[in-house]
């Protein structure tokens, strides 16, 4: 297996921190330390527009609000987290492209989105989310899009809920971490939030009756945990089963599996919160430590949604690495054993610069080789966003 570079976007004027693919449209948002977010097309790999003027300092993280695609409510919503200690909500009306998109969402006869006619984007800077005392490091929308989580160097994780338009309410301020919180991620289906931190731990949170509380603490890493990502659940998995991957400054990528979870029983027999007996607690254990692929801090890790058991990571050594989980003939007592192996690596992915973020995304461009193919998007200190395809040797 080999990671082959498809192409790259023209370099931004400054370091690029993170890229996030649109949940449904062939769009990509890349945030940079030049205080802007660049929207580019995943169909033609060309920059479309730039969002600026909202933040006074670098923008560290960006996230698209899920299921607000053109079908029901013709608007794209973007959340940005910046070093100026605020998060921003941006909206853009997708209305005028309705006739293209509305055709039934059949892949091959997809509408040509946005590339021919002159794209007069205007992203409205809808809301500024104030509250954090220092740099905001990460923002994430919950699966249904109803909650937004933000975290900051002030050691806190905030959960916001969108009331009516442009009005967000803080429904939880979680002060669990003892140091700078680096990343927040929502479980793809459940309302379960995970955060990783400079204090070397990962913590998970759930709503317990009316307030949010920590339901699990994952220790094991020996240095800052930079990024985490949930595995996309598959029907084959039991309801309790769920896996999380994390990467850290201790040069390891680890897999954590949930063994038991008190699934959120109904409200009725729930004792008043003060008396609750920690029933929301979950048991997560470290179930694997991926083979070492990086010689410097690992900044980002992402679980492939289309292909089970496939993960990509990137780091300060400028390398990308793809790992896959293999079934292995067990020894005597015959039960199947799983093992992770590195299947593809590429050094100097961004020249001599560090790679800050990597993720999978649905492939929209002409070069797509098969239905449901995913490509890897890497974002680096050289201000470049590169696209890679997994090619068989």
């Amino acid at each position: 297996m080999r990671l082959k570079k498809i192409t790259s976007l023209p370099p931004l004027s400054d370091r690029a921190w993170l890229s996030a693919p649109h949940p449904t449209l062939p769009l990509l948002a890349t945030c940079s330390s030049n205080k802007t977010v660049q929207i580019s097309s995943l169909r033609t790999f060309t920059p479309l527009s730039t969002i600026e003027g909202g933040h006074k300092r670098s923008i560290r993280s960006v996230a698209w609000k899920p299921n607000t695609g053109p079908q029901d409510n013709p608007e794209s919503v973007l959340a940005t987290g910046s070093f100026d200690a605020t998060a921003g909500i941006w909206r853009r009306h997708e209305g005028q492209h309705e006739e293209h998109i509305h055709s039934h969402d059949h892949d091959d006869e997809y509408g040509r989105y946005g590339e021919e006619e002159e794209e007069e984007e205007e992203w409205r800077f809808a809301v500024v989310l104030d509250g954090h005392e220092s740099e905001v490091k990460s923002v994430a929308w919950s699966a249904g899009g109803s909650f937004l989580a933000t975290c900051s160097r002030d050691k806190s994780v905030w959960v916001w809920e969108e009331m009516d338009d442009d009005n967000f309410e803080t429904i939880a301020v979680l002060q669990e971490h003892t140091q700078d919180v680096k990343c927040v991620k929502w479980h793809p289906e459940e309302e379960l939030l995970a955060s990783s931190s400079y204090d070397d731990t990962i913590r998970l949170y759930k709503e317990d009756v009316d307030d949010w509380a920590c339901c699990a603490v994952l220790t094991g890493h020996t240095s800052t945990v930079w990024d985490i990502d949930f595995e996309k659940p598959k029907p084959s998995h039991g309801s309790a089963f769920s896996r999380l991957v994390s990467c850290s400054d201790d040069l390891t990528v680890r897999i954590w599996t949930r063994t038991s979870s008190s699934d959120s029983s109904s409200f009725i027999n729930k004792p008043p919160s003060i008396l609750r007996t920690n029933s929301i607690e979950e048991q997560w254990t470290e179930t694997a430590c991926l083979p070492a692929a990086h010689t410097r801090t690992i900044y980002s890790v992402s679980w492939c949604s289309s292909q089970p058991g496939r993960i990509v990571s990137c780091g300060g050594d400028g390398k990308l690495a793809v790992y896959e989980e293999f079934e292995v003939e067990a020894h005597e007592h015959g039960e199947k054993k799983k093992e992770w192996r590195i299947v593809a690596e590429v050094g100097g992915a961004h020249g001599v610069c560090e790679v800050n973020n990597v993720c999978w995304a649905k492939r929209w461009d002409k070069g797509k080789r098969f239905e449901g193919e995913d490509l890897v998007i890497s974002t680096g200190d050289d201000g470049v966003v590169s696209f890679w395809e997994l090619a068989l040797e």
């Binding site: 330390s33 220092s134 160097r153 400028g318 100097g348 020249g351 001599v352 560090e354």
Partner: protein
């Protein structure tokens, strides 16, 4: 002030690049006031201003280390060059340089400058605070990191660390100094950058 009376080195003792004074008798008699040694007898024939081709060593500047060796063979970046970049940073408290205060020392710098410029190279700088509880160790470390990030080509990966056993909270300081995101954020903090700018003003 944490340490009022630190031990200081004499500026002229600090390690410097030995100028390879190749005793070559430069050409031409015109540079008479450059001291006897350089005016003793020309070697190349007096150059004819009209002709283009004279291959004689251009303006004979004798000691200037620039003039020897051809113009394009590579001089690798070495420990001394890194030392020269950071030894003249001034201490935030004393009107003295990090070199004089022995906070930075040549033997505590390690450089691996990769011949192939398309591959990452690496610099490790270990600093020795003047006293074990020096509260300014982080600012000094940050000053060194910002100076080297501005002065070295992007292919260099940088680690700045407090030397083993020289500071009570070395681990926390090291972790902070090498957290790329916190360093980036610090560089956007106006008041901190003002302090750093003052420390870097004395760099020559």
């Amino acid at each position: 002030m944490d340490n009022e009376n630190p031990t200081i080195l004499n500026a002229s003792d600090l390690p410097s690049r030995k100028r390879q004074i190749k005793r070559r008798l430069p050409s031409g008699l015109s540079n008479v006031d450059m001291g006897l040694l350089s005016s003793i007898g020309p070697t190349a024939e007096p150059n004819d201003p009209f002709s283009t081709g004279n291959v004689s060593d251009p303006l004979s500047s004798g000691e200037d280390e620039d003039s020897d060796g051809d113009d394009f063979d590579v001089e690798q970046i070495d420990e001394q060059e890194i030392y020269d970049l950071i030894s003249t940073i001034s201490d935030p408290e004393h009107p003295l340089s990090l070199g004089e205060l022995a906070v930075v020392n040549l033997p505590h710098i390690k450089v691996t400058d990769n011949q192939d410029r398309s591959v990452m190279s690496h610099v490790l700088v270990e600093i020795t605070p003047t006293i074990t509880h020096c509260s300014l160790a982080t600012v000094i470390g940050l000053g060194i990191r910002v100076r080297l990030e501005q002065a070295l080509p992007p292919r260099f990966r940088l680690d700045v660390r407090i030397r083993e056993g020289t500071h009570s909270t070395a681990d926390q300081v090291n972790k902070q100094l090498n957290d790329k995101e916190r360093v980036a954020a610090a560089c956007e903090n106006e008041s901190l950058m003002a302090v750093l700018r003052k420390m870097l003003e004395t760099c020559k």
